[in-house]
Amino acid sequence: MKLITHNMLTSKGMKNVKEGFPLKIQAEEMRNVDIDYDRDFITRMIPKLDWKALVFAAQCVGHKEDLPDTLPDGYENDNELLKRLHHVLLEVEVISGCLECPETQRKFPISNGIPNMLLNEDEV
């Protein structure tokens, strides 16, 4: 699971959970992969991201220093920032660990790089 995916996942489907976002990452095993830098894609993704959640996720996996706390104006011209963002979003991968619901502390396991977001019948 990469951080781009983390930014989409919530535990909102659970009963009594309002936002279920952002999920806290507890990483046991990580790896880095190489992805071609695509400036257009990164620039296009930024408005869709929840920046706070991304910073939180980066902090969980030890990449806090790569991102500013708030998205600066004129980010689309800041190639340095875009490249760091590319790395944090697409090249850092959590192989095993879990995602924790901020409201219920329910843990969603990540194994083999795949987060398991399935809910039991009594949780829906």
């Binding site: 992805i35 894609f41 083999n112 795949i114 977001m117 809910l119």
Partner: protein
């Protein structure tokens, strides 16, 4: 762009479901068909390269892999079944594909429960179960989720025999349907209740879009707001779509007719 033949040869080596589950109606998308689909989506519409793409019910990843090879920025495969996802992961690793993500989830819950997904993806692909055994209508439920997740088009496969129903349902949703091709789909004898060794079924490769006028040349029934669908209009409307989405691809085909198989 990678050639069609080359794409197909990559896909041919993918592992299939070890023990397909009848309740989930699991069967592999034939490599030949997956290659044509992915190639068409990119060559004719430019909807894969550099895009954020979702594959709903990815199974062993035939379409996920095909999309990744066509150059998606990231493709996210969703499936409920851990065995299928395990095989899918092995397929991705075998081909050293790093631009793909997998999430274990119930597809039908993605739209309602996870608002973060709403209109997030540039393109959504799916080869849903055709809804022939004990799960009728699943294909359209999946399409409905796909339309919610995509801010662009949805590409899907459906039994040709259900085309009229699909067009009717889509028009009720205010969604446009373009039948890009009719395929002969060789459904192998996957399950015990299949008596014949394999059956050829006719399958439509369909593009669904919201908010832009596309008229299908081979519509069975015309849209409710039009009594006839002159072919001239069809061409004009497709051109209109090209302008709306702002891209300037050359060599676009308006629609693929004829069989792939």
């Amino acid at each position: 762009m990678i050639r069609l033949k080359e794409l197909e040869s990559w896909l041919q080596d993918l592992q299939d479901f070890e023990t397909p589950k009848v309740a989930l109606e699991q069967y592999q998308t034939p490599p030949h068909i997956a290659a044509h689909i992915a190639h068409t989506i990119q060559a004719s519409f430019g909807d894969l390269e550099g895009k954020l793409v979702a594959d709903l019910g990815c199974g062993c990843g035939m379409l996920t892999v095909a999309a990744a090879i066509m150059g998606t920025a990231t493709v996210v495969g969703f499936d409920i079944d851990s065995d299928a996802l395990k095989t899918c992961k092995e397929n991705l690793e075998e081909l050293e594909i790093t631009a793909a993500e997998l999430v274990q989830a119930e597809v039908r819950q993605l739209g309602v429960s996870c608002s973060r997904f709403t209109k997030l993806f540039d393109t959504v692909l799916l080869n849903p179960s055709f809804g022939t055994k004990c799960n009728q209508g699943t294909d359209l439920e999946f399409v409905q989720v796909a339309l919610e997740l995509s801010h662009g088009p949805v590409y899907s496969l459906h039994k040709t025999s259900t085309r009229a129903h699909i067009i009717k349902t889509a028009s009720r949703w205010g969604v446009n349907v373009q039948v890009l091709a009719k395929l002969r789909y060789d459904l192998p004898n996957t399950y015990k209740f299949h008596k014949k060794k394999s059956v050829d079924i006719e399958v439509d490769f369909i593009k669904f879009t919201v908010n832009c006028h596309i008229v299908v040349e081979d519509f069975i029934k015309p849209c409710p707001h039009r009594s006839t669908v002159p072919s001239k209009w069809a061409k004009l409307d497709v051109k209109h779509m090209e302008m709306l989405d702002g891209s300037n691809q050359t060599n676009r085909q308006t629609a693929l007719s004829g069989d792939f198989a």
